[in-house]
């Protein structure tokens, strides 16, 4: 078996809801609620789910950009949640992030050179020429030119900016990259450029990815394994092929069925999900999905299903498989 | 605000009484008097403020009156008076048939009541009583219903002049008892006008006293004292007919007013002095030569022309010439910057020095534009190499700090209360007055002796001589630069007649007429 790089256990992140006369806490948004998974070295784990289901929060908690409410994140054998602030800061060299919005994630007042140089400065590379050289190298790596270094973010198109964002993440030679919807803001033709780039880089630098997206096609294309989230919980996780061929969880099934297929002949009669995503501040009792599930049973309304290994390497959290 | 407690018998709302009043009398009419500040009290004995007396002089009467436009003594509520040989007993015969506004009788008991009330209070409560009479009055007794006798411990030279001062207006004992602490808002006297309404910082309304003892007076039905703080705004209000009479007219406006046929100017005879005090405890002003040098540096006529429109005369002595005891033989330091520089050099300041020049933040009758006079002085001092920094504080702080001797030089002035020389020289320059009105900390034993002697004497000729001597010494010591005796200006609409501005600043309006 491949070596495990990251192991997440029972991770929780609750955001307090304040209110009342004294601004006291009156509830929680359970953005991430008891999520466990692992990522092998060199693989890509895709995370999909509807908007607001907690994908970004998971990504941020992993890096402790948000402090987890509970749970452990073991990276390379170290529990990140136990690290001191300074240790964690240094550890960030190993884990990097690519953001969704290429417009907001680059400081508009810095040149590309400065943006790319900063991680090096932060992690103690004092030699200026060395830094400059590495910036140039990295620009070439992500398909930009070294003459771009002096320009400012607003002089680039969305796709180019996303390349800069990726370059920044690569500057410190990390082991793990958490990509939070890196292509959702891009046009189709640009999206494929970036996806290809990510794949190339993975090969070149032996990177491990956690790839967050809501486009099932993209996730399938890039991921080795895929986890499906629903209302802060992981409902199913397995290898990409398996998931798309033989989804277990009713939510995954519905999700797959909802994708419009770019083939006019394939106008299948699909089963549509009823209703909307419930609010994460007030998730349904029992199985969070039971309100929209076509296979809902009595038990689903009461007991929350655990994520169990239904088939080898194929985990699902559903009472249908919980026998 | 202050509710009107109309003393009229009808319990009707004010406006209706008001309307009836205007319709009934043929003369009458309403006069709106615009002034710079509000009164703080309408109990004249309990205040020192000029703005208060402007109103109370029309509400109350004093036992003795000043002349129409001077400070000679005349009949008031007392018709006859006599003084004993030793000058220690004064007997006054009171006018009969006078009633207070509340209907009670004016008589000897009322006079005694008032004096006893004042005597019982301390200096803080009844300042003028304590400063003018204080412990010197031994007793006040009613000999009969209309005769009062004053017994003194020591003679008081200006006794009758003092009695004529506005603070000693006789108030109704009944009203005093009735209103207690609030008497100052509910004045009741015997004067030609009755109090009607007081809206703080806005206006005080007084109305004709129908039962006034002088036949045919007052002419007006109603007088409204209206507060318009800004001089120019006040003049504007006069020009547009919103008010009929204003005081505190800028000298610079004199010509404009005179050229307007609808307006007229009234001059208030001068009973004041405006001066630049030179604090003689502060370096280098402790040096007489320096003080004299500064005196030589000032061109008084230029200041008068520029800021008094000529309506003032240069001051030489610390008292106005109209006051008995004025020494006309004292010569002024002539305007001579060269001389001034010489003196400075002699004093050890050939290159001049730096000092503060304090300028009053508020207009006063003797110096309506303190800031500008200061600016002009600053320039004149600069000519002789003295760099003056103009400093100002709000009025309260200004007086307090100047009083504490913190000012190098300061602008200030004084308007006489009773037209007596003592009220200028002793009050302003005697060493006893350091800490009160002697702001320049001037101290000269010789002067002190002369002034005390004059105070104790009841022989006017002797007193005059003593004061003249004092003025010579003071001139040489130069504790001040006496600047001007101003003739404060008032202005009114051309419709006003019989208005006579009084030197003390409190104008009796009973014979004023207005054509509407």
């Amino acid at each position: 078996m491949a070596e495990v790089l990251l192991k997440v256990d029972n991770l929780k992140k609750y955001f307090p809801i304040t209110g009342g006369i004294f601004g006291q806490k009156i509830g929680d948004v359970k953005a991430v609620d008891d999520v466990s998974f692992y990522v092998n070295k060199g693989e890509t784990l895709g995370l999909v789910g509807e908007s607001g289901c907690g994908k970004s929060t998971t990504g941020r908690v992993l890096m402790r950009l948000l402090e987890p409410t509970a749970g452990t994140v073991e990276f390379d054998g170290k529990d990140l949640t136990k690290l001191k602030a300074e240790e964690m800061r240094r550890m960030r060299k190993e884990i990097q992030m690519v953001f969704q919005d290429p417009f907001a994630s680059l400081n508009p007042r810095h040149t590309v050179e400065k943006i790319l140089e900063e991680p090096l400065i932060v992690h103690g590379i004092k030699d200026k020429d060395e830094r400059k050289r590495r910036v140039k190298e990295m620009l070439e790596v992500v398909g930009l030119n070294s003459y771009h270094a002096k320009r400012y973010p607003h002089q680039f198109s969305g796709g180019q900016r996303q390349r800069i964002g990726i370059a920044r993440a690569l500057m410190t030679k990390p082991k793990l990259i958490i990509a939070d919807e890196p292509v959702s803001a891009l046009d189709v033709s640009i999206q494929s450029q970036v996806l290809n780039l990510l794949e190339d880089l993975q090969k070149e630098f032996q990177l491990t990815y956690i790839f967050i997206a809501h486009d099932l096609g993209v996730v399938k294309h890039i991921s080795d394994r895929v986890g499906v989230m629903y209302l802060g919980r992981l409902v199913e996780i397995t290898e990409a092929e398996k998931l798309y061929e033989k989804p277990l969880h009713p939510y995954t099934k519905a999700l797959l069925a909802s994708i419009p297929i770019p083939d006019p002949d394939l106008k299948q009669e699909r089963e549509l999900l009823k209703g909307d995503l419930p609010s994460p501040s007030d998730p349904p009792q029992g199985c969070a999905f039971h309100t929209r599930c076509s296979d809902c049973m009595e038990i689903c309304k009461v007991t929350r299903p655990e994520l169990v290994e239904v088939e080898p390497g194929h985990y699902a959290a559903c009472h249908l498989y919980n026998k | 605000g202050c509710n009107s407690s109309s003393t009229s018998n009808e319990g009707e709302p004010d406006d209706s009484t008001d309307d009836n009043g205007t319709e009934e009398t043929a003369t009458g009419g309403q006069l709106v008097f615009g002034r710079g500040g509000d009164s703080t009290s309408l109990d004249p004995a309990a205040t020192t403020e000029g703005e208060a007396f402007k109103v109370t002089v029309n509400l109350y009467e004093t036992l003795i009156n000043f002349g129409e436009q001077d400070t000679e003594i005349e009949e008031g509520l007392a018709t006859e008076w006599s003084t004993s040989e030793d000058g220690l007993t004064h007997t006054l015969k009171l006018r009969e048939g006078v009633k207070f506004h509340d209907g009670t009788d004016f008589n000897a008991d009322a006079v005694v009541y008032n004096f006893e009330r004042w005597k019982a209070g301390d200096k803080e409560q009844f300042y003028y009583y304590n400063s003018q009479f204080g412990d010197k009055i031994d007793s006040v007794t009613a000999v009969d219903e209309y005769t009062v006798e004053f017994k003194l411990n020591t003679p008081i030279a200006p006794f009758y002049k003092n009695l004529a001062m506005s603070p000693f207006g006789i108030a109704s004992p009944t009203a005093i008892e009735e209103h207690g602490d609030n008497f100052f808002k509910n004045p009741v006297g015997t004067g030609p006008f009755k109090f009607k309404e007081w809206r703080e910082n806005d206006r005080i309304t007084i109305v004709k006293n129908e039962d006034y003892w002088q036949e045919g007076l007052p002419k007006l039905d109603e007088v409204i004292f209206r507060v318009i703080p800004e001089n120019s705004a006040r003049l504007n209000a006069l020009a547009t007919g919103e008010v009929d009479l204003i005081d505190g007219v800028n000298f610079s406006d004199k010509e404009t007013i005179e050229s307007n046929p609808e307006l007229q100017v009234f001059e208030r005879p001068s009973l004041n002095i405006g001066y630049l005090g030179l604090t003689s405890t502060r370096k280098p002003l402790d040096n007489k030569l320096v003080r004299q040098a500064l005196n030589h540096a000032v061109n008084k006529q230029e200041i008068i022309d520029a800021f008094y429109a000529g309506a003032a005369e240069p001051a030489i002595n610390p008292m106005p010439p109209v006051v008995a005891g004025y020494n006309p033989d004292v010569e002024d330091y002539e305007y001579d910057p060269e001389k001034a520089k010489e003196l400075l050099a002699e004093a050890g300041y050939p290159d001049g020095f730096e000092m503060e020049l304090w300028a009053m933040p508020v207009p006063r009758p003797y110096m309506p534009e303190g800031q500008k006079v200061a600016e002009a002085l600053q320039k004149m001092f600069e000519e002789i190499g003295v760099k003056a920094k103009i400093v100002t504080y709000e009025w309260g702080t200004y007086l307090e700090k100047a009083n504490a001797g913190e000012a190098d030089t300061f602008l200030l002035g004084w308007t006489g209360d009773n037209g007596d020389a003592d009220n200028f020289l002793y009050v302003l320059l005697d060493e006893d007055s350091i800490g009160s009105n002697n702001y320049s900390y001037y101290k000269n034993d010789e002067v002190h002796e002369l002034l005390l002697k004059a105070q104790a004497s009841s022989d006017q000729a002797e007193r005059d001589e003593l004061y003249k001597q004092a003025q010579v010494i003071i001139k040489d010591d130069a504790p001040w630069i006496p600047l001007v005796h101003s003739t404060p200006l008032l202005a009114g609409s051309a419709n006003i007649s019989n208005f006579l501005a009084h030197p003390t600043g409190s104008d009796l309006l009973s014979s004023v007429e207005i054509k509407n």
Partner: protein
């Protein structure tokens, strides 16, 4: 909503407390002993000491402060040192005078400012827009004391159309009931006087209105422009609605919150900031009342006067805040 109101009210307490404390200290930092000032220049030292004691000025500051606070809680603003009247009673006519002036000014400012802003936004880049915005810029740059003087010069002195100063014709004074003279004359049915009162109001309120009017016009224009770019306006237009309704119904309501904020802020500022206008037009308002009190070291008046204005200011902002919730259903206060 109720609980939000309560919450907001409670949250005002620290601000008001801090405010009281600052005023309290500042007043005491003003040089000069009030006892001395009250007694005048000639008072003896003992007398000053006596009065100092009487006024409680010899007590430690915290005792003084808590005494003052406890008085405030019982609704007692203290007593003027100068006039010895309770400030509660004394302050009202001044406050009312300023309030009448300020409200009048705000009315002018809002009616003209909001409409000018709307029309400028509606016809962006038209000549109206340019003229209105240049005027608004001049308006915000106007030293109002100068404007007031110029108004006086032109309209009162040269043209003699309007009175130069004051609130009323002192010859026929108004019987103060509410001290809002417009209201007073109306309830007393004296309509000839109403006209006089209005004439007195015109110049000062025009001067006072200038800056808020200009600011409101500018804010209205810019928020309207922003709102009119939004998707729901496109939706409204796609429905075929008349532009008038799109502007005055759909856009204006959405632009109202920033406009309201500015209106609240400006109204509050006018209350205290009217002092210059009050000086020029001899308006017996609260600004002058406090200003004069400063000259007299009338501690209680300064203290309570500033406090009253600040409280009103804070309350206006609270009302504005509560209005947000009325206008915008998204602001759920719970």
């Amino acid at each position: 909503m109720l609980s939000y109101t309560i919450k907001r009210l409670l949250s005002l307490i620290p601000v008001l407390l801090g405010l009281t404390l600052i005023v309290f200290f500042m007043i005491r930092a003003i040089p000069g002993n009030p006892a001395q000032i009250i007694l005048g220049q000639l008072a003896t030292e003992e007398a000053v000491a006596e009065l100092t004691k009487q006024l409680g000025l010899d007590q430690p500051w915290y005792t003084q402060f808590f005494l003052y606070l406890s008085d405030l809680f019982s609704g007692d603003l203290g007593q003027s040192l100068r006039t010895k009247s309770p400030i509660n009673e004394e302050i009202w006519p001044f406050l009312a005078a300023t309030a009448e002036l300020a409200l009048c000014a705000m009315l002018i400012a809002i009616v003209i400012g909001v409409n000018a802003g709307i029309i400028s936004a509606w016809f962006q880049n038209s000549w109206f827009d340019y003229v209105a915005m240049v005027l608004a810029l001049i308006g915000v740059s106007m030293p109002i004391f100068w404007l007031g003087l110029m108004e006086q010069w032109i309209f009162a002195i040269n043209l003699e159309w309007l009175p130069t100063s004051g609130r009323e014709n002192v010859r026929a004074p108004i019987d103060a009931v509410t001290n809002f003279y417009i209201i007073d004359t109306i309830i007393q049915g004296r309509f000839d006087q109403l006209w006089i009162v209005i004439k007195h109001l015109i110049l000062p309120s025009a001067a006072l209105a200038t800056i808020p009017m200009a600011i409101i016009a500018r804010i209205t224009r810019s928020t309207m422009l922003e709102v009119m770019k939004s998707d729901f306006i496109r939706t409204a237009r796609a429905k075929g609605l008349r532009m008038f309704w799109v502007v005055y119904k759909h856009s204006l309501k959405n632009a109202v919150i920033p406009i309201l904020t500015i209106i609240g802020l400006q109204t509050g500022l006018l209350l205290g900031g009217a002092i210059l206008t009050e000086t020029i037009f001899s308006w017996p308002g609260i600004g002058r009342y406090i200003y004069e009190a400063i000259n007299y070291r009338d501690y209680p008046v300064i203290q309570s006067g500033i406090l009253v204005i600040a409280v009103i200011f804070v309350l206006i902002n609270l009302i504005v805040d509560l209005l947000y919730a009325v206008i915008d259903p998204r602001i759920k206060y719970n």
